[in-house]
């Protein structure tokens, strides 16, 4: 049990429940006793270095891989014992959005509709809705093989949301998309989020902040952090630090003067070209008022000393720094990621 969610009192409305999920590939343990749950309305961001076990976990939930140990259920259906019922409840975008390349998106979506037991007018409407949501109208008659990466990803998305599933699992849904497409996909996910339980995996940390209500960082098959993006950011050493950039001549005296301010534990100095950035770390890192007070104090000092202030702001924290602090498995000796 890695997190406290195993005994969550609200577990009754957990749409995805994972308990001690484990996967071995030979001697290698890709996923090592992961437990968490996702409720309706939650968008869970799955973070971790390559080979940390994100995709393997998703493959187990969706039934492509069978777990070595532990349990997973989707809407109360065990993914091993009651696999088809669980699969009916979920939409899945596998990593790289594989599809049948010789088919056109329209034929492909019709195939998915048939498998999903959508018939006649219901199938037509589901396909039209999914096509509209992913903006595939222009390419419906072109073989998927001939489409650009962005369009292929959207075909995969359309397939995943076709039957309006209560649970959505997407492995790197915005990978390979340009910034506009990324924005569209994020908007789409945000629109669907209210009445679904969604898991997305991503390498893009800003995405977690943009669309996830909760983030799970996994490393070497274990959950190393679980919380809202704000909570994770608060674990950064930069949380509530104050950053001051001044131009022109910088003296040792300026650093000394800043260090002498009350409530400062340490200070970092980064000269860059004609400017210098000072990062001031407060003693009481988690007190919001301390940050405000510190900014005011720095501003007063700058005015008094007549520095050329280029920037002055309080830092919310840096997610990438938290990520690096918590994970170390992105090394070359992490096999098994694509073992299947």
């Amino acid at each position: 049990m890695q997190t406290a969610n195993g005994n969550n009192p609200a577990a009754g409305d957990a749409m995805i429940a994972i308990e001690g999920l484990t996967k071995h590939f030979g001697p290698f343990t890709a996923v090592d006793g992961i437990s968490f749950s996702v409720s309706r309305g939650e968008v869970l961001g799955f973070l971790g270095p390559n080979g940390a076990g994100k995709s393997t976990t998703m493959k187990m939930i969706t039934g492509f891989l069978s777990p070595s140990a532990g349990r997973a259920s989707v809407c109360g259906h065990d993914v091993v014992a009651d696999q088809l019922a669980a699969q009916r409840m979920l939409g899945y975008l596998p990593e790289g959005a594989p599809a049948y390349g010789d088919m056109t998106p329209l034929a492909f979506l019709k195939f998915i509709a048939r498998v999903r037991a959508l018939k006649g007018a219901a199938a037509d409407k589901a396909i039209a809705d999914a096509v509209a949501a992913t903006e595939l109208q222009g390419v419906l008659e072109q073989p998927i093989d001939t489409l650009s990466k962005g369009f292929r990803r959207r075909v995969g998305l359309a397939q995943a949301i076709l039957h309006n599933p209560p649970v959505l699992i997407m492995d790197e849904p915005t990978d390979g998309l340009d910034p506009n497409q990324k924005h569209e996909v994020r908007k789409l996910i945000a629109r669907m989020a209210a009445d679904k339980a969604i898991i997305i995996s991503t390498h893009i940390l800003e995405e977690v902040d943009a669309i996830c209500t909760r983030a799970l960082i996994i490393d070497r098959g274990r959950v190393v952090a679980d919380g809202t993006p704000a909570e994770l950011i608060a674990r950064s050493r930069y949380h509530n630090a104050v950053s001051l950039t001044v131009g022109g001549q910088v003296t040792i005296a300026a650093a000394e003067a800043l260090k002498a301010l009350p409530g400062i534990s340490s200070i970092e100095i980064n000269p860059r070209g004609t400017e210098t950035t000072f990062t001031l770390f407060p003693v009481q890192q988690n007190a919001i008022s301390a940050e405000v007070k510190l900014i005011d104090a720095v501003a007063d000092l700058a005015r008094e000393k007549d520095w050329t202030v280029r920037a002055l702001y309080g830092e919310p924290g840096r997610l990438d720094e938290v990520f690096r602090k918590l994970t170390r498995s992105d090394t070359a000796d992490a096999p098994g990621k694509n073992a299947a």
Binding site: Q87, V115, A340
Partner: protein, 244 residues
Amino acid sequence: MRELLAVFRRELGGYFATPLAFIFIVIFLFTMGAFTFYMGGYFESGQADLQIFFNFHPWLYLFLIPAISMRLWAEERRTGSIELLLSLPIPLWAAVLGKFLAAWVFSGIALALTFPMWITVNYLGHPDNGVIFAGYIGSFFMAGGYLAIGSCLSATTRNQVIAFVVSVVVCFLFTVSGLPLVTDFFAAWAPQQVLNTIASFSFLTHFTAITQGVIDIRDIIYFFSLIASWLIACGVVVDMKKAG
């Protein structure tokens, strides 16, 4: 059943979405004709039947059928679409059977397109059309047998070339297990019972029996059980791969 039909339609459509189907059918018909008329000496034989034509089927199937079956699963594994297929609510048996049936129907279409042979022989003489019909039935079942083997072996790899080569070898062993090439190897030391069992696995033995015009229930059971066994093995292989 709905899932089976969906997979079947997708697979069969997949053959015709690319030039593959047309190339295959053209080559199939061309080699069938070439072997029958030139190598088989059809006209010289002076017989108004299709015995010579059918005699070449096992040997042509040996190479042509693995060419159909090799992509069944290996292609899905290579492109990753197998992850999609297996995460859709499709029972494993429906995926295995749907793919197999699509391939079988496709080979049946290719076989049916040899009908000019049948017209020719009826134009030239008065053949026993019952025997010819039996030959077609036998050939179709034999194609099913080869396809089932190829389907299972295709599920073991993501490389279509490997799937093809291994299928040819295994199909070859099944084809010739009644011939001295194989039986001599066992004859020296194995008891007669074992020898008979091995020989009874031979496609040739059963196929030849059917092409004589006698559709024996035992030959039909042979092909059905062979197909069923290899398809079950195929399902087991696909399932085992899920375990990593």
